[in-house]
């Protein structure tokens, strides 16, 4: 097991490195620079800024400097948000996104797993059909539709819930629910097909033949097997969700990492882009490794190579 973890970690580091490299060179591929569009900058000031941030050096040198910096834990300063280090930006924004994302994933699991199971156990009946249609709507409706309709219905029309900022607990309701809608629906569908698979297996018949009650059969024998695909899905999905959804953060005016990422791209804030990309990639890959390990614990058949 230890050997496996080490191997995965090394592979992960390599992948992150590759992703960072690709991002770096892609960023610089775009003509212009971070300071070109700023209105009040004279050519001299621009040159000075470029020099300050080491942007007048050849690309390869910049790359080397940056990578060396990373290895020492220095993600450099933000180019656009003067006075902020990239690390600070990420650490101030990430918890906001993480809180909302975490709650959303939790909600998705708490609703999705039972719903999918209920649908599978009542296959063909109206309960099943209803759940399938609702879940399909959930994965079909784009997040901006859910968010905007939610804002309109509950915020404007009915006036029940606040629609922007994070002032109170009530403010969390709409964004968390909007963010959880897609994963909730996906998990429902996944759980349903997985459960259908499992209840047709021979070992379920053995369990019944032993005299186990229906509940015991389901919770002990079926669930453990059926949940495996959901585990595989949740890992990376969690990583994506806690790093923030741009749409949700834009519509509900939430100061999270997702919005920050997009604005840094449009602003050409190279260092922030690099830092956030590396952060995101590391998180996703870490989640993948974690999922594989959890999978091995839950399903003893898996042979990890």
């Amino acid at each position: 097991m230890a050997k496996y973890i080490i191997k995965r970690v090394l592979l992960a580091v390599l992948t992150v490195f590759l992703v960072a490299t690709i991002t770096f060179f892609l960023m610089h591929l775009v003509p212009g620079g971070p300071f070109v569009a700023e209105k009040s900058i004279s050519a001299d000031a621009q040159a000075a800024l470029n020099a300050k941030f080491g942007m007048d050096k050849p690309l390869i040198v910049q790359y080397k400097n940056y990578m060396v910096g990373i290895l020492q834990g220095d993600f450099s300063l933000s180019l656009k948000q003067r006075g902020w280090t990239v690390a600070d930006i990420i650490t101030s924004r990430f918890p906001v996104s993480a809180r909302i994302g975490g709650l959303a994933v939790l909600l998705a699991l708490l609703v999705g797993v039972p719903m999918g199971s209920i649908a599978a156990l009542n296959r063909g009946k109206w309960v099943d059909n209803l759940i399938i249609v609702v879940a399909t709507c959930g994965i079909a409706f784009p997040s901006f539709v859910i968010c905007t309709v939610g804002v309109y219905l509950f915020g404007v029309h009915l006036g029940w819930l606040p629609t922007f900022g994070l002032a109170s607990a009530a403010n969390y309701i709409l964004p968390v629910f909007a963010l959880s809608f897609y994963p909730m629906s996906y998990i429902t569908r996944l759980m349903r097909s997985s459960m259908l698979d499992v209840i047709g297996q021979d070992y379920m018949r053995t369990a019944k033949a032993k005299g186990l009650s229906r509940g015991k059969c389901l919770f002990k024998h079926a669930l453990r097997n059926a949940i495996l695909p959901v585990v595989t899905y949740v890992g990376p999905m969690l990583a994506y969700t806690i790093t923030g959804s741009f749409i949700v953060e834009k519509i509900f005016v939430i100061p999270g990492l997702g919005g920050q990422f997009v604005s840094s791209i449009t602003n050409r804030d190279y260092t922030v882009i690099m830092g956030t990309t590396i952060f995101l990639a590391t998180l996703i890959i870490a989640m993948n490794v974690l999922v594989d390990i959890v999978y091995k614990i839950v399903d003893p058949r898996i042979q990890l190579k």
Partner: protein, 352 residues
């Protein structure tokens, strides 16, 4: 259990069963209500098993042999339903039992081992866990006692290093060993009846013999009855006291093993016996199959189910179901040829 048909329709006396029998199935009718239609899997099946006896049920796929056995335990798969007849087991009237009462019975008074040991065990739990499960369910033992009993059982079924095995997972064991584990689970609570549904079909030939020997040995030690379901006549020859031959959802012949093998009365049984290649045959002797294809259970014929394939088929066979003719106390068969023989016998007597 749901029964929608009334027992009165069969004309047999209701709720009267033979107390000497451990299993008494009378005129069972069972259908599967599928989207394609009603599949009449069991069309008036009657069987009995005495305590300590080994009954072999022989038939091809689709004959209804597994369905019959499962119905004793209430394991009929959805969308199957009992629509007629009575099933008695160990004094219980199965038709009228609630699901709760059935659960107490399963794994306890009657157990079953299935055909494919590869898939019959849950892959994510240890062997020990799965054996302990049935012990903890039906007895008042605690976990440590259950574990001790599990160890005992593994030794009983001939698995070495029981302590090590208890901690292993199903995928770490071979097919033969897994089947032994299934037997251990089945015997954990010393049931009165063990149903073995094609227990050796999925195993190598050498292992087959071992498993059969094991089952018979345990039967002797524990004094339980066994229903052995198979399509392989070789398996029943050495092990069973009595044999029931099923075809098309009906028992076409039943009797002592010797009767069936040496004095087969039904054309289907005769066909089965003839089709077994003989070791002493000359090379290039043609094999003798039974012509035709199995019955379509969506539209079973009104007459004898075997009629279209029978070489001695008569007009009456196609339209009317034959009644049972008793050749001895224990040997009977449903075939119009036997009736014909009786008919002619009586005519001769009348003329004399």
């Amino acid at each position: 259990m749901n029964t929608t048909g009334s027992n009165a329709a069969t004309g047999a006396a209701q709720n009267v069963h033979n107390p000497d029998y451990l299993v008494d199935i009378q005129h069972e009718r069972l259908s599967f209500f599928t989207p394609a239609g009603e599949v009449k899997a069991l069309n008036d099946v009657s069987l009995y098993v005495r305590p300590g006896e080994v009954l072999g049920i022989v038939g091809e796929s689709g004959s209804g042999k597994s369905v019959t056995a499962y119905s004793i335990m209430g394991l009929t798969a959805y969308p199957g339903r009992l629509i007629g007849g009575d099933i008695w087991f160990n004094g219980h009237h199965i038709n009228e039992m609630s699901e709760r009462e059935m659960r107490k019975m399963r794994g306890n008074e009657v157990s079953i081992i299935f055909q494919d040991p590869m898939t019959s065990l849950n892959p994510v739990y240890t062997i020990g866990n799965q054996i302990r499960e049935v012990i903890l369910l039906h007895t008042s033992k605690n976990k440590a006692e259950a574990n001790a009993r599990a160890r005992e059982l593994l030794t009983l079924v001939g698995i070495n290093e029981p302590d090590k095995r208890l901690k292993q997972y199903p995928h770490e064991l071979s097919g033969g060993m897994r089947q032994r584990v299934m037997i251990a689970i089945a015997l954990a609570c010393e049931p009165k009846l063990l149903i073995a549904d094609e227990p050796t079909t999925a195993l190598d030939v050498t292992i087959q013999a071992q498993i059969l020997e094991l089952i018979m040995d345990l039967k002797k030690r524990l004094g339980m009855a066994v229903i052995l379901i198979t399509h392989d006549l070789g398996v029943v020859a050495g092990t069973c006291d009595r044999i029931a031959v099923m075809y098309g959802g009906k028992v076409v012949e039943s009797g002592l093993t010797d009767d069936i093998f040496y004095r087969p009365a039904h054309e289907y049984t005769k066909g089965l016996l003839v089709s077994i290649p003989n070791l002493k045959d000359q090379s290039h002797t043609r094999l003798v199959p039974i012509e035709g294809s199995p019955v379509d259970m969506l539209n079973p014929p009104a007459g004898c189910p075997f009629a279209p394939r029978c070489r001695s088929c008569m007009k009456v066979c196609l339209g009317r179901m034959p009644e049972y003719t008793h050749l001895t106390d224990s040997h009977y068969s449903a075939c119009w040829l036997l009736d014909k023989a009786e008919f002619e016998q009586r005519q001769r007597e009348e003329q004399a």
